[in-house]
């Protein structure tokens, strides 16, 4: 099984950040993980990393409800950046919202690979990541 190089976690909940980080380090499917507390931080990083494919992630786990720049706004900005990234990025929306309009909206964005309702368990993470590698 091939390892995934880089995973971005974009979520403002620090407890959840801790959980994902710890789970990922226990399953050895991802080499490095970067954490951003809102969409703006992640977009800024991506923008400054254009031209350096090593810094561009393979997978992004994206929350929807965040301060400053939420998941939807992140996706709008990401779509504009995408042509210049030079790499296929798999984006998974991981949210606490079960609102059907959120699910529908995410499914209509072709950049979003899937919509996952929290909690994202260890088993879910493993099956998700191994399907990519």
């Amino acid at each position: 099984m091939k390892e995934i190089d880089t995973l971005f976690l974009v979520d403002d909940d620090d407890t959840y950040q801790f959980i994902v980080q710890r789970t990922l380090s226990s399953i050895n499917l991802v080499k490095s993980i970067r954490i951003f507390s809102n969409g703006r931080e992640a977009i800024n990083f991506l923008e400054s990393s254009i031209g350096d494919p090593n810094l561009i992630p393979d997978v992004i786990l994206l929350d929807l409800t965040m301060p400053i720049m939420d998941g939807w706004q992140f996706l709008e900005n990401y779509i504009l950046l995408k042509p210049r990234l030079g790499k296929r990025v798999h984006i998974y929306v991981v949210s606490s919202s079960v609102d059907p309009s959120d699910v529908e909206r995410a499914k209509n964005i072709s950049e979003v690979s899937d919509y996952i309702v929290k909690p994202i368990t260890k088993q879910k993470l493993i099956s998700l990541l191994s399907s990519l590698s």
Partner: protein, 378 residues
């Protein structure tokens, strides 16, 4: 009545009788219609040629002010351009149009009418005038809009339950399963420490949920005569502003409207939430200054709360400002509940709240406490 033949002189008399009967019937039908419906005739350009008494009554215009004017005189600006394009296209083709229209009376108030427009067709098959027959549905429409608003509020509640409770709950689920799987005591300790925060969030979220649910049961909450300065003083004490935030200036000016008839619990809560909102979103670049002011506008008591805080990007957040789902700043403590509760309380009492804001300059919240009676027609 069958049309009589006109072969004989005597038949002319029966024709006359017949026509008299027809006119009489028409007259009776007109009276019946005028008694029940709002009626207007317009020419093909939409200029009014006739209105009945009910039309004058509901629109508050005198007949002389209406006849000769274009029908646009009562347009409320509520419906889009497409709405009227479709209406005109339909009737210009000689077809009947019907639907619900919001109109504007002379005093600026709005009323809803269920409208049927029937074209009068000439010999060439083209309309030469239109009659509109309307019924006042303002009351039903307002109830419908209120019901929609209630449904929206209920939906919002489902979102808090699903989102704001699910987030800490799913953290707890994951952490507890990690504790179970861990075989190091020290590691378990670290994980147990992590439980405190989601438990705390869960508890606070739950308490706020209960508080906002209570508002809905408070329909018959007691109103009393309150002095703004007294409530302001108590709010300042409960926030402990002087002690906790010595650099903050909060001023109250209630000379223009010193008193209000309102539930005490709500006024205190509104002041408390608006002030703590201002404190929470103060700018690190300057000392916070908040000005509270009560005043009269259109004879109704209003209050505004102006701060010089970090401001809100209204273009991006206007619709979500009083909602449940979000906070607007990089502030992890803010759960964005306070303004929702405030809005719910104000709306329960028939009032409204809105905000004006500029990033890096500050925000002003405007509260109208009661329904503006002169604009209500129920």
């Amino acid at each position: 009545m069958p049309l009589p033949m006109l072969s004989k002189e005597s038949d002319k008399l029966s024709l006359f009788k017949y026509l008299e009967g027809v006119f009489n019937d028409l007259e009776q039908q007109k009276i019946a219609l005028d008694q029940s419906a709002i009626v207007a005739f317009t020419d093909t350009k939409g200029d009014i040629t006739y209105v009945n008494d009910k039309f004058c009554e509901i629109s508050q215009y005198a007949r002389e002010e209406l006849v000769g004017q274009n029908h646009r005189i009562i347009n409320s600006g509520y419906h889009g351009k497409d709405f009227f394009t479709n209406l005109w296209r339909t009737i210009a083709q000689g077809k009947v149009w019907s639907g619900e229209i919001r109109n504007r009376a002379k005093d600026g108030s709005h009323y809803w009418v269920y409208t049927t427009i029937v074209p009068y067709l000439g010999a060439n098959g083209k309309p030469y005038q239109y009659v509109s027959i309307r019924f006042d549905i303002t009351k039903q429409k307002n109830q419908e809009l209120e019901l929609k608003q209630r449904t929206k509020q209920l939906e919002d509640f489902c979102f808090i339950v699903s989102h704001n409770l699910r987030a800490p709950l799913s953290n707890l689920l994951l952490l507890t399963s990690m504790i179970k799987e861990s075989d190091s005591l020290e590691d378990q300790r670290t994980l147990i420490d992590k439980l405190a925060k989601p438990v705390h969030i869960l508890n606070e979220t739950f308490n706020e949920l209960v508080e906002s649910l209570q508002i809905r049961q408070d329909v018959d909450i007691k109103k009393e005569k309150l002095r703004f300065d007294e409530c302001f003083q108590k709010t300042m004490e409960s926030l402990n502003v002087d002690v906790i935030y010595p650099d903050i200036t909060i001023e109250g000016n209630f000379d223009k409207a010193p008193e209000i008839h309102y539930p005490k619990k709500y006024l205190m809560s509104i002041m408390h939430n608006l002030l703590s909102n201002a404190i929470r979103y103060r700018s690190p670049k300057r000392n916070l200054k908040v000005e509270l002011e009560s005043y009269l506008k259109n004879g109704e008591v209003h209050m505004k709360v102006k701060d010089n805080g970090i401001g809100i990007d209204m273009a991006a957040n206007e619709k979500k400002l009083f909602g449940l789902r979000k906070t607007f700043h990089d502030n992890h403590d803010a759960k964005g509940f306070g303004l929702f509760i405030t809005k719910t309380q104000i709306e329960t009492m028939g009032g409204s709240i809105y905000a004006e804001s500029e990033l890096e300059k500050g925000s002003t919240f405007f509260v109208q406490f009661h329904k503006n009676e002169s604009y209500e027609r129920n």
